[in-house]
Symmetry: none
Subunit: 208 residues, 4 copies
């Protein structure tokens, strides 16, 4: 009998409705950010685009900053998942292969929604709330630092935390240039190879 399924918890429909609303709001936010810019992303416009009343938006997000932060979190989570999936297995491979996998994973992660990534990374105010960008960077830094330490006798740099921090910034900047700003006048494949070379030469003085 439809409409009276005792297996489903009573609260479930309400929860799924809520979740759908939240997703619609986040989707609308991303859409407006990407297509009209941060300045155009007013809460009223977001609500309208989401097909939801402004009151509903504020039922789920206490203020605009929290909304942006949630979107940031969602996006960061997607990137993190991609990175983990693609780079995780390569952590124990020989260094050149590990670096190649890592760079590839980062580039793929940046391809999830490059325009959104650009706005969240560059324009959205950092001081708002729960900066997930620094979170992901921090995790990455730690992971890379560990990876370097496990091979400290194969590599040239001695201040490993510094090397790790620099690698994170460096790769991030180059990948942004390649994937997001497209200011490198070269195919993304070519750039990927060149980033690998930058990193391997920095770490080992050679590529192979």
């Amino acid at each position: 009998m439809p409409g009276n399924n005792p297996a489903k918890p009573r609260k479930s429909p309400a929860q799924s409705r809520s979740r759908a609303t939240v997703e619609a709001i986040l989707d609308a936010t991303a859409h407006i950010l990407v297509n009209h810019g941060l300045a155009a992303a007013s809460t009223n416009r977001i609500a309208e685009k989401a097909g939801v009343s402004i009151g509903s938006l504020y039922q789920y997000f206490p203020n605009k900053g929290a909304l942006i932060a949630a979107l940031r979190r969602r996006h960061a989570e997607a990137m993190r998942a991609t990175i983990l999936q693609l780079a995780g297995p390569a952590a124990s491979a020989p260094l050149p292969q590990a670096v190649r996998s890592f760079i590839h994973a980062l580039m793929q992660a940046h391809r999830i929604d490059p325009q959104l990534h650009r706005i969240l990374a560059l324009e959205a105010p950092r001081s708002d709330f729960a900066d997930s960008r620094s979170d992901i960077d921090h995790d990455l830094r730690n992971a890379i630092c560990a990876l370097l330490e496990s091979r400290r006798n194969e590599i040239l740099p001695t201040d490993l935390p510094l090397a790790a921090a620099m690698l994170v910034r460096l790769t991030d900047a180059l990948i942004h240039a390649a994937v997001i700003d497209n200011t490198l006048d070269a195919t993304q494949q070519a750039v990927e190879g060149e980033i690998v070379r930058v990193v391997l030469r920095y770490l080992q003085g050679k590529v192979a």
Copy 2:
């Protein structure tokens, strides 16, 4: 016409007054951006700080975007001058020395007004695509590309425009991290040396 001296004056005092007013407005803008943040930089507040009426501000700048753009231009010009002065002479030095000078020049340029640079680079909305940041980057890219080409037999990369573009982005990102965000947990001297190593190993496979 009485007193119409075609040499230069007559108009000059007015022009120098104008220039002084423009400078006062730009100074006030920079001061407020640095000390109170982008959100506090309203045109009325800028005019007040500059000791000028809001009407006068709009006599010199058609809108707020033009004001920010002018400040950006002025700041970029100061950086460009610093870079030219410090790195120019080293262009013909041996590669390691040239790289060292270049990196040092870039770091000094970022030390002119790091907080202003941060806001202009990351927070202030760029009004149109033809902005001064890409200008300075473009010039830098050309200069470096020329430098690489004049030593194409000493270096490993073969796609020199790509290498130049990557070096610009890479150094900029690392210098920002060191000078502006201070997120590298190391002294600026140490970072400067490490950036030099990244670049030289990328170019030559070795530092010396």
Copy 3:
């Protein structure tokens, strides 16, 4: 009909549940008014505090004004009961004693929940003209008028309805100052004595 006991039950549990819900809502309203102020007393917050859904709140009260009015009524009823209990027996006492008892009863009534009384009396918007404050004042006025008339040869005022009305306002204002606003810079005991003197001198020209 099985189990249909005509005595009282069947309906009673539902009614008592209703009453309990209403009481919970009124309690929550009073609590929020006293502890967080009128501005914080939103219907949603009241419902939450009462452990009831916002829908249920509107099942029992057609709108917010009715809710406040009900709370006002409940509070007035409590005050009325206190006054009746404390002042009733003294109605037939000699005038000075009667006045003393009356004033004391009024002060005690204002001590039931002074903070709530303050908000209901001063801040909460009165929805319609037929409010309980005028009710209690009206009853009081009549009672006092009767008391004065039964002693019209002992007292100075001749327009007894006017005297009664003035006494009600006068005592109310002074008790508010003493118990609620505490703006008299004197102990409540001292104020009570002084109010008695004001009243007795007005009625008799002397205290004893």
Copy 4:
């Protein structure tokens, strides 16, 4: 020649324009408070009624509270002037005459704009800013206390500060009842006489 009068200071027209705008805003505020109540007095509505843009309103008042406070101040000033003018001369008269003048002055002051007075006294939130009501009460209390002290051997009360405070509250409440709420069922003249009697009997045990 019209439009070029060098006798008038340059800033004068601007100042008079400003003053007119401020007055218009305060007038509009008072009008809306009186005719539509506190709840209807939104800043946008006030600006509209004043024939002024909402921006202008905020040029002269930093927030709504300051606007209400300014209105309160203006009204209190008018009342204070009336009281001073009518009661000032009587301060040195014999007590009965002084009391009569005082009460009369207070009643006249409350007749300036009774409805506005009612809203400012009862509904407008006290916690906002510069509570002029307490100011005027405080001044009154001090004035009356001084008056009582100069005649301490003619009067019955011994705690003069308390007596003064009570007289202020008492007269205020009775005048409100007479002039503003009109809940005394008597002519204002009759009430005025009766208030005088309350006060004189309290102070002297007799009226003459």
